[in-house]
Symmetry: C2
């Protein structure tokens, strides 16, 4: 691995050279969705960003163990998590059980991730699988003086954790006064729930514990899923920027209070996606779901779109931007197609060296804290160079260039995976047969017969009637 | 609901009239796969069978709540479950963590089920989500004298359950002596593990309990997943025939010991799938995975294949049978295609009544304990009737017949969901352009231009070179 990667670490507030804890292995955890609603473009931005990071690491020869969770309990609604469990709220609305809501939106999410060619995590754990482990960890927090029990739940005492605030960079004294989860039984406004007691027998998501019936807090879940599947120390912890505080700050407070080791070495956060300059929100009605987007556009367009801004900058979604991305994607495919068609036998050496240089610059751009816009511009520069020399280069050179261009786009950017052959549908066959009908009328039977044989070869049965032919598609 | 369904109940050993416990709601649980290996044709047979049952119930107006589990711990290898956890064995072989094995094969299973158009269950629970509930239930079994603790685990005492053997029909006295899970600490040979103790600190799938560290037995898992998601009593419990004993017999013993109510009203079991007359097994090398099958064939062919035998008979997979199913599927699609093409304006009434009669016979065949071969023959009779009268019937009648034919095939048999338009791939375009090149040589520019415009309209860019044209597919 000759290339040195630098990543901006939210924890240290600066770019740092990336070096995994164990030689060649990268342990990475990304906070996944709470499955109470349709996945949207904001999710896609976060998970495509980490997908490219992971592909890049794998391209450079690292072995990546990637865990991304599915939150199925304990994520409360409201800005300061003061409301009800999001899944239970939705279950009431849809008149389904919370477990049915989880399955419904979880599978929709899985499908969208597959369509977007996002490398599947090695493990996708759910907190409902880890209730015993969560409770055992709470035991330890209580034993070590970091947690206390009130009549409403078990809370983490943020005043006990010396480094509270180290991720978000908010001053510890201010942070302790920062109110989350309004509850009068708490010692400090910023104390957060590890376990919430439930008194209602019919409350659907509850488990027994020696402390009383209840459910886990959202933050403790991620601490435990990390510990279970990746261990006490991981290399990269990621998520959307909105998770820095309180979610990730609290994960650190929980985990490090017990392990006494630095939890994640690098904390990486992806900025927001806006729609026509505005924050995406249900109330504004500008919420674009992945289901909607993917029903209209080739999914690769969204992967290009994510490259338009640095992951730490806001990224605006609008129709013009998407159309530009479509053009870019077509240009990239055109580059591959044209390279494939080169058949000049002559040995040339016109662009290969420049392509190699641009490849290095492309990799360096990504290595510099995933500079997506620079990497994309280098890649497009490579495309321009190829297209403007396509008539001059020979077959051998074209093959070498093809390999480089395809590899960067496919392996690292995750492109070139959709099929382009499905556009000839029934309406095409119908129109082709109309042309053929005209030919028949003019007596050009030689060619009308050839077209019929060809269609037949591809499973289309043609029936010639007097003026007009018909067809059906065979299995 | 005019149609009365009869189902063969393994519990009573006879066909019974189906009547759900709560008016219109059908609660159904089917044992899902243990995800330690590729899903195979035998899985597909079981899950397609229940899929048709569920589609049929929904067609008749029932509301179906369907739970099918994913077993991710506790299923031991060997005929009498005497071996190691199947997932841990595979994890060692593939040098992955057991949780990575689970995710790997679980997602492969999900994908195959989707490709086969198997209606997704409302909930797909995993035993790893239910460890606390399993342990609480074990408490109750111990308190009530149905379970005892030894140094190797907690076992169910089959001699304490009066009705032990009622499902498999094996005499209770014999059954109690039937050895499962050889363990010298057990009271009766047939006693089975509810919880197995683990002494090795590094054993990967273990949980704490007040009895000692360990993992749950395979049978208790299904009892608890039923209780959690469907309640104490369900309508239909299903699975492969190999699950009758000990798995389902033990589920009954566990659940009914505590609830004192009849657990499942109807027990339905699907017979084996053989390959060229032999039982499918890894050692024989005749194991056909769904991945392999689906890479070669249209998935609808497998749905037709399942209809060839009654679900309680063996079904043999062989190339001839699959080719016949392909023919059948094509015939069914042809029937739909021809009906769509009818354009005679004349009002006719030639076959509609006969079609209605065949529809009733089709539904009655399914209602009679899912008589798949009879239902299929009625459906094919309908297809023959339509095809032999296709020239005589008018448009209106064709539309009415279409609706019936499509609805039965699509809603109940789960057919007609694959796209047939994807067969015109790049090689087709290449060959069409070869025909066009010949036309150009003969000066038939009027038509060669039309073909080019048509291709362009469908996103194919054509480049005319001297002798030969080339193309590329645009995004």
């Amino acid at each position: 691995m000759k290339i040195e990667i630098k990543l901006y670490n939210t924890l240290t507030k600066r770019k740092e050279i990336f070096k995994p804890l164990e030689d060649n292995l990268v342990k990475i955890y990304v906070c996944g969705p709470t499955v109470y609603s349709h996945s949207h473009l904001g999710h896609a931005r976060v998970f495509i960003t980490f997908d490219i990071l992971i592909r890049f690491l794998e391209y450079l020869g690292y072995k990546v163990k990637y865990v991304r969770n599915i939150t199925d309990v304990g994520h409360l609604s409201g800005e300061i998590l003061e409301g009800e469990d999001k899944i239970i709220l939705e279950a009431k609305k849809e008149k389904l059980s919370p477990w049915e809501i989880v399955d419904k939106y979880m599978f929709e999410f899985f499908k969208a991730m597959d369509l977007l060619n996002i490398r599947r995590p090695n493990i996708q754990p759910r907190p409902s699988q880890l209730i015993p482990e969560i409770l055992e960890f709470i035991d330890k927090l209580i034993e070590n003086g970091y947690a206390y029990i009130t009549e409403t739940g078990i809370y983490y005492d943020v005043s006990k954790f010396e480094n509270y605030g180290k991720l978000s960079g908010i001053k510890r004294e201010e942070l302790i006064k920062h109110r989350v989860e309004p509850d009068i039984t708490k010692k400090n406004p910023a104390d957060f729930a590890l376990w919430k007691f439930v008194k209602d027998e019919n409350y659907p998501l509850q488990w027994n514990s020696k402390y009383g019936k209840g459910f886990p807090g959202w933050h403790i879940e991620c601490s435990i899923m990390n510990l279970k599947h990746l261990g006490e120390q991981i290399d990269i912890h990621g998520g959307g920027m909105d998770l820095i505080f309180p979610h990730h700050e609290n994960e650190i407070a929980q985990t490090e209070a017990i392990t006494k080791k630095q939890f994640a070495k690098y904390w990486i956060h992806v900025n927001f996606l806006t729609v026509n300059g505005e924050k995406m929100s249900k109330s504004k009605g500008n919420f674009i779901t992945l289901k909607d987007f993917l029903s209209k556009y080739n999914p690769e367009i969204l992967r290009i779109f994510v490259l338009r801004a640095h992951y730490r900058s806001e990224l605006d979604y609008n129709e013009k931007a998407i159309n530009e991305c479509k053009e870019i994607l077509d240009k990239l495919y055109r580059t591959l197609d044209y390279l494939k068609k080169v058949n000049k036998e002559e040995d040339t050496n016109i662009i290969l060296e420049k392509v190699e240089k641009l490849k290095t610059e492309f990799l360096e751009a990504l290595a510099d804290d995933l500079n997506f816009p620079l990497a994309l511009s280098k890649y497009l520069e490579m495309s321009d160079l190829i297209l403007s020399n396509i008539e001059s280069i020979g077959k051998k050179e074209a093959e070498n260039v093809y390999q480089i261009f395809f590899e960067l786009g496919n392996k690292i950017l995750g492109l070139f995976y959709t099929k382009r052959e499905s556009k000839l549908d029934e309406s095409f066959i119908k129109k082709l047969l109309e042309i053929r009908d005209e030919m028949r009328k003019e007596g050009l039977y030689k060619y009308s017969d050839k077209i019929r044989s060809l269609l037949n070869e591809y499973g289309i049965e043609v029936f010639d009637k007097k003026d007009k032919s018909e067809f059906r598609i065979k299995i």
